[in-house]
Amino acid sequence: MSLAAPTIDSGVLDELRAILGEDGAVLTGRSARLNRARVPAPFPVHRWAEHVPDVVVLPRTAQQVSEIVKLANRQRIPVVPRAGGTGLADGAVPLRGGILLDVKRMDQIKEIDMADRTVTVGPGINMQTLNRRLKRYGVMYPDDPASYACSLVGGRIGTSGFSLLGGRYGHTRDLVISFEIVLPTGEIIEVGDGGARKVRKSSTGYHLKQLFMGHQGTLGVVTEATLELVPRAETEFAAFFLFQDYDTAHRTFGELARSGLATLAGVVIFDPEKVAYLRRDDEAYLSQPEWVHAVTAASLYGTRVEVEAASKVVMALGRSLGGKYIGDEISSGDWAARHDRYANPLHGRASDGQVVPMSWHCEDAALPYSQLPAVQREWHAIAARYVSKYEIFDDWGMFAYTNGAHKPWGDVLVEIDMGLWEERLDEDGWRAFVSLKREIAQAALDHGGSLTACHGSTREGDAELVPIEMGASWEVVKQIKRTLDPLNIMNPGKQMLDEAYADQETTA
């Protein structure tokens, strides 16, 4: 691949080196730039060079980040923040080159406060690393995405992430108490529920934390976060139930979600296409009877006295409509395998059955619980049209998960997993992928849903629908963006926010 030399002039590179003041903190080499161009989601590999940043910087302090952002404003150079680069919506993918600001060196644990039950960290720390340090104190930070072992706190705030234990402990927005952010013009501010760093509930002023939560790098760079510390659970419990049909599994999902069990971490459902996909080669599902076409599972966390009592309720509800228990061994093993999608090489099937390397496209949405069966049918009908027309796609089935923190009964995170054969990708295939995404996203809106429950809507295909979902409030969103980022420096081109600058000349 031919790769253009950095378009940033040497004077700017010298200024960046002066700001950072250490060797290896300003990178212009080919591998440093290419490796920070994409995320795990399907990527237009035939146009890789279009997404390569001009320079990579690795700051250690908020003051350095502030000076970099101020320099970018003076020179009108885009800045794209990047944490783990594990997101599925291209928030960390540069669209117009510029400065890629990688926060991985900001990975310190700054304070563990056992009195007020908080931990303060840099945005570059990983949750698994953090929890292994916290274990000796008998506490944990229970933000548990599928990317648990590789995503970073800064990216979790950037996407307003979803935790697989969210029903019990809350999601990223509930677990981050406050954070420091460098605004697009370089000022350093702290945002929370009010202005205090360690207070969970306040009625002072506007709740700016939630404005910046899920900012996808378009409103600044998070440089520090104060997080919740939760007592480690004494025990966990998981149970998987098998069903002949999706409708019964869906109704059982509802029974479990409405159980009122305070220890309920989440309820999940696999649809028939997901079960068929798992039957291809998954050790837990190869041996299941032919009549199995759907799965519902629930998990619990808490004290032993709570979980043991609640587990009996889960077992009764799981069987109440005819579900069959899968057994202890697969239940506990499958629950522990919940992060696998970020660890295993992914493969799909070509139309002749041959195994082919595929990247993983996971389109998510948030839906009212009642709409799940209808959307399940519509999404697979959309997917089937593309699979039959293009060799590059493979339908890997759908799953849904309880969505509300502490209130798991009303809405669901729903995802359709699809394989995409990137080696065969050309512009025609990429356009098909974008069109597929748009149709899936539109169906979610048509059923009263939201475009995304956890990934964000910064990718081509669903980003165009953000103004439609936001309705009249889209004008307010654009005013906020333009007020905070007058030159459109921060991650330009994302989420249709360029519309905020339609009447002025900007950098991006």
Binding site: M140, T235, E236, E308, D328, A337
Partner: protein
Amino acid sequence: MSDDDFRPGRYRRQDESPPPAQRVTDEVIMRFEHVYEVDPALMGRHFAQQDMPAWDTQRIVAARWDHLNDVHSEFADGITLAGEGPDV
């Protein structure tokens, strides 16, 4: 020392040949109990294939169990089970 003398950890090539595959489904075979593999006939066109010594398969399986045990201990100190086998 003859080939029959046992020493822990000693590499003997004849011990490292995986046993013959048993067919599990149209797409899956099994060489070791509960260790499933996609049928190599489906893999060869797009993935380079290699002979896998038995110890390497066993290493991967052991690492998998290590990983699952680690995940269990990330957020909880113990595991509660229903105490039941499968209903079917």
